[in-house]
Amino acid sequence: MPTRHFPPVFMINFSALTKRYGPLEAVRGLTLQVDPGEVYALLGPNGAGKTTALRCLATLLKPSSGSARVCGVDGSVDPLGARRLIAFLSSSMGLYQRLSAKELVTFFGRLHGLEGVTLSRRVDEMVELFAIGDFSGRLCGKLSTGQRQRVSLARALVHDPPVFILDEPTLGLDVLSSRAIHDFIIRERARGKTILLSTHQMEEVDLLADRVGILRRGELVAEGSPTELVQRLGAPNLVRAFLALMSDWALAPGEGSA
């Protein structure tokens, strides 16, 4: 399936997105855009609304107001259309323990409407791309964390979408496996893919992100390239810049319910 191009619109476009859970406002008026071929990292403490924002974009959650669009497709209007354009990778990986790696990728290929020769060719491609061949017949429950992460990526990319949403993709991975993910992100950016990821790892942001958005209590409080942010806040590095932005929050821990 060829990569689609939508030149006039942003690949990812959050417009005044607000998401409430009862009285709790998890995301407040989030507006941000991501250009084609860009890697955008969302930073923020636990509970800042990163996962909620990504889930709204992935159409898992309905925005309370505002919108989240992928290639101009509004997920709350055409969820299936939006899902075809994204690869979603959650921190839990979401693998079926009692399916083999190959069965799993095939299953998701089917859900994306692939079948017959197209499906088996695409699955073989994924197996090769992520070097799953050695363990493609083994049940996912029996794989190592690194192997599972590779299967998880193959699962997410089987339909070759233009936009990747990665929710803490290196959570719980060792240095080597994290490195593999980083390489993968750099490679896919070179192929023109648009990537939105959330993370807690500052070095990951330094290494990968073209732009960074910092969320605090559901609000976007700073945005720019890592270098810009460091300069603007007069901090020696990104970690200090991040801490400076969080400092008034840290001083008032009683408000930590946002």
Partner: protein, 679 residues
């Protein structure tokens, strides 16, 4: 492109069939357990019986036995005459003798001799000894009788003018079906439902727990198709479990391995034509529980949580399946449309060969209808992001310790939390159930009076005092206005005949045990004025105060934050359940309705006193009606049709009462809301 639901279903089936737990319940249990269990039980029984038969029974014959009797005992192959020195009962307790005959002194040649047979009814060996000894004594009696008749020149048949014998016309197959039909429905329903149990948990809660649901829902397929695929899997597994169980059971019985049933003259076998039908009735059942379990399990965050939530539902579902075990319940349209019970009863009738096709159709249609409802409910749960991802974001928020839920809202004006109120009522119910019964057994009516005050009223007061709750708010202690009281009067006056009608209708499904009626009549019927006032005290005034303070006081006060329908339904159900005992299942529905009616009135007015007045009016009316001879006649006949004119009049009074209460409370409600909002 193959349908999405089928893609999902195939994947789920593949995964489920790789799950050892599911496979065990679905295949191993039916295939192995039935034969092992049934044959094992039978072998054990046979083994025991053989042992008993081979054994001889040591017996004693004491008193003044004639030589003929002693000779007869001696001649018996199964009895061993054992001399007893010392206490006879002691000798029996120590198993030295199993049974004994104490023979009295004869009063002349034509007199009667008293013979007492001593045995231990709690011992199998003693019972056997008793039966054998009895046979010998009877043989001796017959010999004496024949001799006496012969001495007078009379034939032996002289003393037996009628020879009586029982003979059942039931064909052996019917008899087997009849017996089996009572137990098999329960077993099969149990296994079918259990078959759907683990897959449902795994496919909903398990998927949430492992985080796979999130990835599944990012695929470009509608949630409905995913639910359909999962549901098809669960229902299919349930059906496979049902089929395997049925097959295994049939094989076990058909191979004739059960010598016991043959020995007692039962031909056990299920007609093959019925087997297909039985399976057909199990299909909608699997469908129903597949949907119910799936819809419930998706609300739980983990496998364990879902297991805890579903187990009570599973157990509850088995109750209707147990009904066919009880004799005397006829299968009618009402039972046919009762979930699970319909299937179980139709199954029972199929087994004994007199199933009604109309009822069978009704069972099929109604079960499919319930299954459809459950499916809609499950699909809605899967479409709800609150159910699927709710609380996930909030999990980042530091949570309070669970104990804080019992003690929160501290400070002046505080009311018990929902958890605290429910825990209190549960504790009091247990206390009342065990303590109250003991008090009643020991002290009769006084015990009942004491139980109400000591086990309901005092704990409720202690709860409020120890918990430092605001009594006025937590017990709804607001003085009722005059209109409220009038409304309460109308509600009870209208409610009573309606509840009576419902009780009467219910008696078609659940017959009223006569012993209970007699007991109740004795309890609530006054023959004198003194007795009347006493009854009013123990049956009307006391429950009105003590039960109201617990149910419409603490329980309602603690659950007021729920939405009104839940408050009222919960209150009614708990009140009904509180009055439940083994003999009084029939009272559940009427009591629950009364409880809900009073709960609504107290909820609207914030006045517990109104609840007490209504409760008093209701109970006092019953005491008056059963004490007044004219009305007692009608009331004590359970089959008497309630005077139907009372029903529309009652309904009218009920509506009037509701309108009156509704109108007069709209203004005061805002006040209540203000109070509730106050810290």
């Amino acid at each position: 492109m193959s349908s999405v639901w089928w893609v999902v279903c195939r994947k789920e089936l593949r995964e489920t069939l790789r799950d050892r737990r599911t496979l065990f319940v679905m295949v191993a249990v039916p295939v192995l357990l039935y034969p092992v269990l049934l044959i094992g039980t039978e072998q054990l029984f046979l083994f025991g019986a053989r042992n008993l038969r081979a054994e001889t029974s040591p017996v004693a014959v004491v008193g003044d036995p004639p030589a003929v009797l002693l000779d007869l005992v001696d001649a018996s192959e199964t009895l061993v005459l054992t001399p007893v020195t010392g206490d006879l009962v002691e000798a029996m307790r120590s198993d030295a003798v199993t049974a004994a005959a104490v023979v009295g002194v004869g009063d002349g040649p034509d007199g009667t001799r008293e013979v007492i047979l001593l045995f231990d009814a709690a011992s199998d060996r003693s019972q056997r000894g008793h039966t054998q000894l009895r046979r010998v004594v009877e043989a001796w009696r017959d010999t004496v009788l024949v001799r006496r008749l012969r001495d007078r020149g009379l034939p032996a048949t002289f003393a037996s003018p009628v020879a009586l014998a029982d003979s059942s016309i039931a064909r052996p197959a019917e008899m087997g079906g009849y017996t089996l039909g009572r137990i098999l429905p329960l077993l099969l329903v149990m296994m079918t439902v259990l078959g759907a149990f683990y897959p449902a948990i795994d496919l909903a809660a398990g998927e949430k727990e492992r985080g796979t649901l999130e990835t599944l829902l990012t695929a470009p397929v509608p949630a409905g198709a995913i639910v359909a695929g999962k549901f098809a899997t669960v229902a299919l597994i349930g059906m496979i479990a049902a089929g395997l169980n049925l097959a295994s059971m049939l094989l076990t019985f058909q191979t004739g391995a059960l010598q016991v049933t043959e020995a007692i003259g039962l031909e056990v076998g299920i007609p093959l034509a019925s087997v297909a039908l039985i399976f057909l009735t199990l299909v909608p059942l699997a469908v129903l529980f597949g949907a119910v379990f799936l819809g419930l399990a998706v609300h739980s965050g983990s496998f364990k949580e879902a297991q805890n939530a579903l187990t009570p539902v599973y157990i509850l579902a088995l109750f209707p399946a147990m009904l066919p075990i009880f004799p005397g319940i006829d299968f009618g349209p009402l039972l046919a449309i009762t979930p699970v019970a319909g299937v179980a009863f139709f199954f029972r009738d199929l087994m004994s060969g007199d199933a009604s096709w109309g009822l069978g159709g009704l069972v099929l249609v109604s079960t499919c209808f319930y299954a459809g409802l459950a499916l809609v409910f499950a699909a809605r749960a899967f479409g709800s992001e609150r159910v699927l991802f709710g609380g996930d974001e909030a999990s980042d928020v530091p949570s309070e310790p669970w104990t804080s839920r019992f003690f929160k809202r501290a400070g002046p004006g505080r009311v018990p939390s929902r958890e605290a109120a429910v825990a209190f009522v549960a504790a009091v119910a247990v206390l009342f159930f065990f303590g109250g019964i003991r008090l009643q057994i020991a002290y009769g009516e006084t015990g009942l009076l004491a139980a109400e005050w000591l086990l309901l009223f005092v704990p409720a007061l202690l709860f409020v005092v120890v918990g430092r709750y605001d009594p006025r708010r937590s017990l709804s202690l607001r003085a009722p206005r005059a209109q409220y009281l009038l409304a309460g009067l109308l509600l009870i006056a209208g409610g009573l005949p309606i509840v009576w009608l419902i009780g009467w209708l219910q008696s078609f499904v659940l017959p009223i045990p006569y012993e209970l009626l007699e007991g109740l009549e004795e309890l609530v019927t006054a023959q004198s004025w003194g007795r009347f006032f006493w009854l009013i005290l123990i049956l009307a005034i006391t429950p009105a105060i003590c039960e109201e303070i617990v149910f419409r006081g603490v329980l309602l006060g603690g659950t007021r934050t729920l939405d009104p329908w839940r408050v009222i339904t919960l209150n009614g159900l708990v009140f009904g359940a509180f009055h439940l005992s083994f003999e009084t299942v029939i009272r559940f529905l009427p009591t629950a309705l009364l409880g809900a009616l009073i709960a609504w009135a107290v909820y609207r007015t914030g006045s517990l006193l109104l609840g007490m007045v209504m409760h008093f009016l209701n109970n006092a009316t019953i005491v008056v009606l059963t004490s007044w001879p004219v009305t007692r006649e009608v009331l004590s006949d359970p089959e008497a049709v309630p005077p139907l004119w009372l029903v529309p009049v009652g309904a009218l009074a009920l509506v009037l009462g509701m309108l009156l209460l509704d109108r007069s409370t709209t203004s005061s409600l805002e006040q209540t809301a203000d109070e509730a909002a106050a810290p």
